[in-house]
Structures are given as C-alpha cells and as structure tokens.
C-alpha cells in the first residue's frame, strides 16, 4: 500500500516535471513558458470539472457516464445563449450589466445540468441497475441524443464569444508577456472547487458515505443508508459540475457541437490515468493531461502535425493502459 503510493508519487513528479521541462525547452522566453503553463492549468481545471463527476460516479455506481461530455456542452450552450442577444434564453434585456449577467448565466447552466442529471439518473438509469452492460450503452445513447437536441436547437454552426465583460477582457503582464486574467480566474475557481469537494468527501457525513460506497455498496445499505438517494445526489452533482465547466469555458472556447466529445475523451484519459474512482487521482490526472495538451499545442505550432494536441490525450490513455492499467491510484480489475 505504502509502496504503491510512493511509486505513484514518483511517477507523478516525473511526468509533471517532464512536461514542464519540455514546455520550458520549447518556449524561447519565460513569458511563452508562462503562457503554456497557464493554458495547461486552465485546460486541466476544465477537465477536472468533467472528470471528477465521471470518476466518483464510476467508483460509487459502476456506471461510466459517457454523457458527461454532453453535460459540459449543454453548460456551454446555455451560458452562451443566456449572455448573448437573440437567443432562446436571452438575458441581455433583463440583466444589462454583462459582469452581473455572467454569474447568473453560469448558475442557470448549472441548474439546467443538474435537472438533466436527475432526469437521466432517476428516469433512465435506475430501471437498468440490474443490467449494467445496458447502462453503459444507455449513457452512450443519451450523449448522442443530447448532441442531436443541441444541433436541433442551436444548429451545427459553432458560436464564438462576442459579448464583452470585465474579467474576460482584462490582462496582466509578467516577463513582458500578456496573460489573460480570465484563465487565471478559471484556474483559481478550479482549485477552490478541488478543495471544496475534497472537504465534502473528507469531512461531511455524505462524503463518508460516498467513500464507503465506493468500497462496498452492499455494506452501506446494510447500515440502513438508502444508497439510491446517494446515487441520485452524486450523479446530479457530477452533471451539474460538468455543466459548470462548460459555462465557464464558453467565454474562451465558445460553444460548438464537438466540444462535448473532446472533453469527454480527455476526461476519460484523466480518469484512467488517475485511477477510476480515485478523487486525488482525478485532480492530479486533470493537471497532467491539461499540461500535456498545452505542451503538445505548443509543440505542434509551425509543424505539419496539427492533429498532435487532439491526439495527445488518447495517446496518454493508451500509454497508461499499456503500462499501468490501474492508473496512479486505483484498481482496474
């Protein structure tokens, strides 16, 4: 036990150290290096928002929710739509101040994500707990339907952000390079969430139940705890956090119908890398994959290998499954 933890720690340090070293060598100035690091952390925090739900739900319920990426996408579209004029849920009239509209739209996206999460768990997954194979197939189908509904409502044309608001536009300067404050804001928010969820899991009664349920669901029930209710809660929370991810990503990445799949695949890489069901693993894995993608983006500039950043998470996933299928902290069998 202690030995696996130590070797995991060494592996983590080596990989993160390696990524940072590559980023450093590749960048010709401290400023560029900083940009790569910040964009890696930004990407990593967004990934964490998708991957944390994926991992905890899998650990607790044995369901890998292939629709998790679709919740991210829904969050992005709802947040975009609410903050721009002429959409379905146009808040531009109701809340003229864009700086106020932003948090309201984010909260709206989270609520929509949570509602859709309850519907999926209560309405569709619950009848299938006796048939786990079909649960997997079902979440895959739900992902498709959600993507199709989005295409139906908002068409397939990607939206890029046009609305101007404070945090998004401001910059700060370091080493003669301009850094986006918004990215820093998302990174900060991600770190706060990582800590909050960790506290929830460590300190609260519900957190203890979740951790116990990951280990032995049956025993938790035998103690008089209604596991179904816990499932619904955790699943809903996972979907809501994914939608939050989409909502805060939208001002930077816009909203498009491919964004869900991209984040789902990267989040799966994170979860496998960190070890299915391990919260610490998910947090560390997110940072690793985020950094790896940023480094790959940097490396691909000016070369003909434009697909490198998109392929990087999949390459990582394949490498992890080849070398250490249980991930950094976890059990694959």
């Amino acid at each position: 036990m202690a030995r696996t933890n130590r070797s995991s720690l060494i592996a983590i340090l080596v990989i993160i150290g390696g990524l940072i070293a590559v980023a450093f060598v590749n960048s010709n100035s401290l400023g560029n290096f900083g940009i790569t690091l910040l964009s890696g952390l930004f990407q990593g925090m967004l990934l964490f928002l998708v991957a944390s739900g994926l991992s905890i739900v899998f650990g607790l319920m044995d369901v890998l929710n292939f629709a998790q990426g679709a919740y991210f996408m829904v969050g992005a579209y709802v947040a975009y739509d609410a903050q721009h004029a002429g959409g379905l849920i146009d808040l531009t009239q109701a809340i003229p101040d864009p700086n106020l509209r932003f948090p309201v739209a984010v909260i709206l996206a989270v609520i929509v994500g949570a509602l859709l999460g309850v519907i999926l768990e209560r309405g569709l997954l619950r009848p299938l707990y006796a048939r786990p194979v079909f649960q997997l197939v079902l979440t895959f189908g739900v992902a498709l339907v959600m993507a199709e509904i989005i295409k139906f409502i908002w068409t397939t044309t990607p939206y890029s952000w046009t609305e101007v608001f404070g945090v998004r536009e401001s910059f700060f300067e370091l080493f003669g390079q301009r850094f986006s404050t918004y990215r820093l804001f998302v990174v900060g928010m991600g770190i706060v969430l990582i800590i909050l969820i960790a506290l929830l899991l460590r300190r609260s009664r519900i957190g203890i139940i979740i951790r116990a349920g990951v280990e032995d669901r049956e025993m938790v029930q035998s103690l008089g705890i209604n596991v179904q209710t816990v499932f619904t809660l955790v699943f809903t929370l996972g979907c809501a956090i994914a939608a939050l991810g989409g909502a805060v990503a939208a001002p930077f990445l816009g909203a498009s119908t491919t964004i869900g799949d991209i984040f789902l695949l990267q989040a799966i890489a994170v979860v496998v890398l960190g070890g299915m069901g391990s919260y610490e693993g998910t947090a560390i894995g997110s940072v690793m994959v985020g950094l790896a993608v940023a480094v790959a983006q940097d490396a691909a500039i000016g070369t003909s290998f434009a697909a490198l950043p998109s392929i990087t998470p999949m390459l990582l996933l394949i490498l992890v499954l080849l070398l250490r299928p249980s991930g950094l902290f976890g059990n694959a069998r």
């Binding site: 899998f58 009848p127 299938l128 079909f134 197939v137 799966i268 496998v272 392929i311 996933l317």
Partner: protein, 356 residues
C-alpha cells in the same frame, strides 16, 4: 467444430432462409419487372448508365447487406460474447483506408492492388482487434469500451488532418475493374455483397453453434464461472474480437467499393452507433436480429429521408432530425425493448406456449 445434428433435414430446417435467399437473388429482376426498368441499367453506346428503379433499389439493398455484415460482426462481440465496443467504426474505416491506399497510392496494377489491399485490410483489422484486446480484455469490461472509443477517435482525428489522404475531403477510388464497379455494373456488385452477407451469416451461425460459441455465451452470462470451469476466457474473447474486427473490415471494403470514396467519415462514431443500435433493435445475441435491425432501420431511413413532419405550424425535414429520432429509439429500445424484435417475439411465443 461439428454442426449439431438436427432431427429435421438441412433443407427443411433452413426452409424460410432459402425462400428469403431466393427472393433476394431474384430481387433486381422482380423490381425491374414491377417498375418496368432493367436491372442492368440503361445502355448508352457501349456503356451502361446506372439509372432506373431496379438499379436504385439494388444500391439500397447493397447498403443493407453492408450494414448487416457490420452489425453481425458487432453482435458476435456484444451479443454473443458480452464485450462492448464503442469503436467498431475503427475496423470499418481502417479497412477502407488500407484498401484505398493500396489502390490509389501504390504502383501495383489494379488486380494485384485489390487482392493485396483487401487481404492487408482484413489482416490488419484482425491484428488491431488482437492488440486492443490484449491491452484491455484482462481489465473490467468498461476499459475495452473506452479503449476502442479512444483509438477510433484518434484515427478519426488523425485521418481528418492527414494531408496524404486529403484530410477531411478524403480521396476517390478511380481504379476499379468494370465487374466490381457499382457505377458500371451494379448487378454484379449486388451479388457480391449478397454472397458476402450470406457467408458471414453462415459463418457466424456455425461459430455460435460450435463448442467455441458455447464458451462465448458462457463468458457473456458469467465470465468468472466460465473461468472456473477451466476455460481460458481471455483467449476466447480475443478470438471473438479478432473475428469481429475482420468481418467489420469486410463491410468496410464493400462500403469503399460502393461509394468509390474513402474519407474520415468512415471512422466516425456513426458507424459505431449504427451496428450497436441495429443489434439492440433486432435482438441482442440472436442470429437473425442484426439482419432485421439493419434492414429495418436502413429501409426506414431511406423511406423517411426526404419527407417532412408537420407539427401544427412547424414543418420539419425528417432528414434533419433523423439522428435525433434514432437516438430516441435507441434509448427507448434499451429501456423498454431490450430483447429486440427477435427476443421479444420469442418471449411472446414462450408465454403463449405456457398458457396453452
């Protein structure tokens, strides 16, 4: 691999199958007679132009045969062995790219390129299945699903950007001999696709009824128990995925020849969803299910494609919401109709028998 002895003769046991086969063989001529069009197309000078109802319906059925082969291969893996793949398009698309590369990007003459391309495509599909299986099949089932999805997506992204094969646009196949070219002789290609679909069906039926097939199904029901009975379940699962990969490759080859075009869309998630959905609708783990699923859904698709849905004042092109409808059918099927057409039919029969 002995065929299980049956009390009835082979002909009697396969009666309805032979009738269906005869109908499919005669199909181009029947449609031709009904619509007064030639199954060979329309002659213009010394060339045949592929025009007319018979020729049009031939290509619809060719698509059904291709989807049926793909779905049967998927069902072997999912329905009979209990292994879920979310990247079956990987085999379909890989085979089509290899075949296209052999034909268009090598100096071999056409006949040799076709043979080399087809053999290489199918062998590589088998190897790909073997590799993916070796990496993930020792782990929980979900890892195989993840891994196939990731590899398929990776190839999809890569091929969408690969300049040699014209990235997203893909490239056309120009070099098919006349007898194999559906734009010159649709009818001979129709029979080729039919023969391959029938062979696939017979092969899978034989495999499933063999002792090996019995172990596949034992693994699907309870892998631990199959293992405790002394079977090396990993080897059986590997065998299943290799065969399924190769058969999906065959379907990919036919698709390339039919459309005479290779592009990254052949690796898109659609070619994973189609066989999955068709398997579930037709009947998971049944022999006829994939064929019913493939035929049913594809014919519905063709039928509804250019129609409109009028909802009060709104008019919606069905083509625009077809994928959405499929998805909804998919979810409903998983929840309320999990045994598919054939499975549900058998349950009704069994209930009726019990009541008597």
């Amino acid at each position: 691999m002995a065929v299980t002895p049956r009390k009835t003769g082979w002909l009697q046991g396969n009666g309805w199958l032979l009738v269906l086969l005869a109908l499919l063989i005669l199909f181009p001529f029947i449609v031709g007679a009904l619509t007064d069009s030639s199954p060979y197309g329309v002659a213009r000078g010394d060339r045949m132009i592929m025009r007319g109802e018979s020729v049009r319906w031939q290509s619809v059925l060719i698509e059904v045969y291709i989807l049926a082969i793909l779905t049967m291969s998927y069902n072997l893996l999912f329905g009979f062995t209990g292994v879920i793949s979310f990247g079956h398009a990987l085999f379909f698309g890989t085979a089509s790219y290899l075949f296209g590369l052999a034909l268009e990007f090598t100096e071999m003459d056409t006949g040799l390129a076709i043979v080399v391309g087809a053999v290489a495509a199918i062998v590589v599909c088998g190897l790909l299945g073997l590799l993916i299986g070796l990496v993930t099949l020792r782990l929980k089932g979900v890892y195989f699903a993840i891994f196939t999805l990731a590899v398929a997506e990776m190839f999809f992204i890569f091929l969408g950007r690969w300049q040699l094969t014209r990235a997203e646009d893909g490239f056309a196949i120009t070099d098919l001999p006349a007898w194999l070219d559906p734009t010159q002789s649709r009818l001979s290609f129709y029979y080729l696709a039919l023969v391959l679909a029938v062979l696939t069906f017979l092969f899978i039926r034989r495999l499933v009824n063999s002792p090996t097939g019995a172990v596949f199904q034992a693994i699907r029901e309870n892998e631990d128990r199959a293992q405790s009975l002394g079977y090396n379940t990993l080897n059986y699962k590997l065998f299943s995925i290799v065969i399924a990969g190769m058969l999906a490759g065959v379907a990919g080859l036919l698709q390339v020849m039919l459309n005479k075009k290779v592009g990254p869309e052949l690796l898109s998630v659609g070619y994973t969803v189609d066989p999955l959905l068709m398997t579930i609708i037709g009947g998971v783990g049944t022999l006829g299910g994939p064929i019913i699923g493939a035929a049913g859904l594809h014919l519905l698709d063709v039928f509804f494609r250019d129609r409109e849905l009028v909802l009060g004042s709104m008019t919606i092109d069905i083509a625009n919401i077809w994928a959405l409808l499929l998805g909804v059918i998919f979810i409903l099927a998983v929840i309320v109709f999990p045994y598919g057409v054939i499975g549900t039919w058998r349950r009704w029969q069994a209930r009726a028998l019990r009541k008597r």
